[in-house]
């Protein structure tokens, strides 16, 4: 199976590069070309192949494919790509695809470069299905929030161009404000739901393993919990009271940057995700 996995490992970045090329072309010709956009189907094919690659990798190594740096980044690439594909399918607009497919390509290139075929030491929890579900949900939740923040950034940029009456390439190429707002809301909602499931499963795994709540005081978990609650409150406030799109955009961006900044600080300080042993 290893030759097949090695081939797919090389092929996936090339495939995503091809998909990215179609999205770039679509972005710069949008509104002028009414034909079928094949990039979407290429993206579905790439994501399907990517999913298959990770499953095969999991079968061949006997653990969930997130135990190594390469596997984790590849899972991240897949989650961003899949969440974006869902957005595109839901809103029938491929004009923002190049940003996300570009991100997927970068992650997958990194994963392919870091690929390690001889894994000596795999943590036992990487074989636990509940822990596996925790990681998958959490990663997909992060991907949703990442998409949400990027849509918020696009909203802010387009809104500022409209306000300043300087209508450049952003005005011409990005989807309308209300659509960006909907895309951002959908990504936030999916992010909050998936991250919520991921965190709940993570808490359950930790509690089962140690029978105390002590591991839940780990800074990374505390930050993730606070971020999740903040996003949830933000969603409820926006739903109940209403918020201007531009304020929601700024809040979403600031929240995401704070969240990611805090995570990076904790991870670099503790030099690991979270170890309870």
């Amino acid at each position: 199976m290893q030759p097949l996995l090695a081939t797919l490992n090389m092929f996936l970045p090339l495939l995503y590069a091809g998909v990215l090329a179609t999205y770039i072309r679509h972005f710069f010709s949008s509104g002028r070309d009414d034909g079928t956009f094949w990039g979407t189907y290429m993206l579905y094919a790439a994501l399907g192949l990517h999913g298959g690659f990770l499953i095969l990798r999991g079968i061949s190594t006997g653990h969930f494919p997130f135990a190594t740096r390469s596997e984790f980044v590849s899972l991240l690439a897949l989650s961003v790509g899949a969440t974006y594909a869902l957005e595109e399918l839901r809103h029938d607009n491929a004009n923002t695809g190049l940003f996300f497919v570009g991100m997927v390509l970068l992650f997958q290139i990194a994963s392919s470069v870091w690929a390690d075929w001889h894994i000596a030491d795999v943590p036992p929890r990487a074989r636990d299905p509940v822990y596996g579900a925790h990681v998958v949900f959490t990663v997909f939740g992060f991907a949703g929030l990442t998409l949400s923040s990027l849509y918020a950034l696009m909203y802010v940029l387009l809104s500022r161009q409209l306000k300043s009456r300087e209508l450049g390439v952003i005005f011409r190429k990005l989807p309308p404000l209300t659509l960006l707002e909907k895309m951002s809301k959908l990504a936030t909602t999916s992010g909050v739901v998936l991250l919520g499931l991921g965190l709940a499963l993570g808490h359950w795994v930790a509690f089962q393993q140690f029978s105390t709540v002590d591991p839940l005081r780990h800074p990374l978990i505390v930050i993730a919990d606070i971020a999740w609650i903040s996003y949830l409150i933000g969603l409820i406030v926006a739903k109940v009271r209403g918020l201007s799109g531009i304020r929601m955009g700024y809040l979403s961006l600031a929240g995401y940057l704070l969240f990611m900044g805090a995570m990076v600080v904790v991870i670099t300080q503790l030099e690991a995700f979270h170890s309870f042993s």
Binding site: S29, G31, R32, D33, R165, P176, T178, G245
Partner: protein, 433 residues
Amino acid sequence: MADGPTLELYSFSHKNTSLETRDELAFSDEQVRRFLPEARERLGGEWAVLSTCNRSEFYGANVDHDETWDVLADLIGELKNVPEDELTDPDAMDGSEAAHHLFRVAASLESVALGENEILGQVKHAHGMVLESEGHVSVLDQLFQYAVRAGKEVRTETALCEGAVSISSVAVDLAEKIFGNFRNREITLVGAGETAETAAEHFDDAGADHFTVVNRSRDAGEALADRFDGEYRSLDELGETLVDADVVLVATGAQEPLITPSMLRRAITERRHNSIFLIDVSNPRGITPEAGDLPSAYLYNMDDLESVVEDNLETRRREVPRAESIVDHFVEQWERWMQQRRVTPTISTLARYFEDVRQRELSRHEGEHKGELSESEISRLEAFSKGLVKKLLHDPITNLRSAVENNQLSPEDLELVWSLYNLREFEERSDDR
């Protein structure tokens, strides 16, 4: 004949004709249907009419007549009742120049409003009328096919037709950039004059279906509201109307602003901070400029809209060289197709000439050796002569075709082939037989 197909064009447009004459020359579909067979009857060849509000153009292919325009002018005069003295000076073009002109027209490079989109549909329509007409129309069919492809490619590959270039369409564009489309969007018109009506027409065309007219005069307001199946509200209800409005166009002559920041702030809070697009085309201003500083409000006045129009026009002007190079590419393709059309009769005449020589020589030989040749020997001679002719023709035909492919074949080259073998005399002899 070695000359091959020809193309000629007589054009009346905004460049050489007054608006009145252009109006008189505008052809309805029915008139085109009458014109095409009549022109073919009197002048021969294939004919097409491209008639828009800014141009009436007459395309003829394979017309073999010394005074084409005079005959055409008579025919147009009969059909349109246009005085003959107004039909004396069309822009006349032929060959590649005529094709180049049509491709520029389809690409909207010849339009009054550079990059306008309607012309491509009009060229397609003219093409459809050509195809509907009776008789052989292969040259004009091909010409219009290239024209439509050139027009499409210019629209796909360049930004020549991007961005609105009128105040009302810019307003619609901006609103679409905020709301996407106008389904279930509320368009509020403050004022019921001509400007408000024109803007309402544009929003209506863009798919808007909810209109509210706010106006001081009830009668005028209701009349405009009725036209768009909308609702009338008095000026006192403006504040409440803003709560539900998505697009607000203010076009009044009021001396004081009708929409102030405090009024808008209240409305925005009530509408849960949903975006609102405000267009102020009043003079003096009907919306206090500070209203545009509110986070959910996007305010454009007349100067802003004019500046967007100018920017879009400038963008279109910058795209002209790219559009022209696409047109040039299609002219080259057209010229190559015409060359192929020219060389095909030459090749077929040449093949018939060689076959004629072969059969005559074979008959002569059989006559000279009557009774001496067996059936099988005659068959072998037949096969041999056919093979020989095929071999002799192979290189000239291949070279003629590749010269066309490489755009290296001049009319003189073809003429040389016809002279070398006296192909004209051969054709005349064949016709006599």
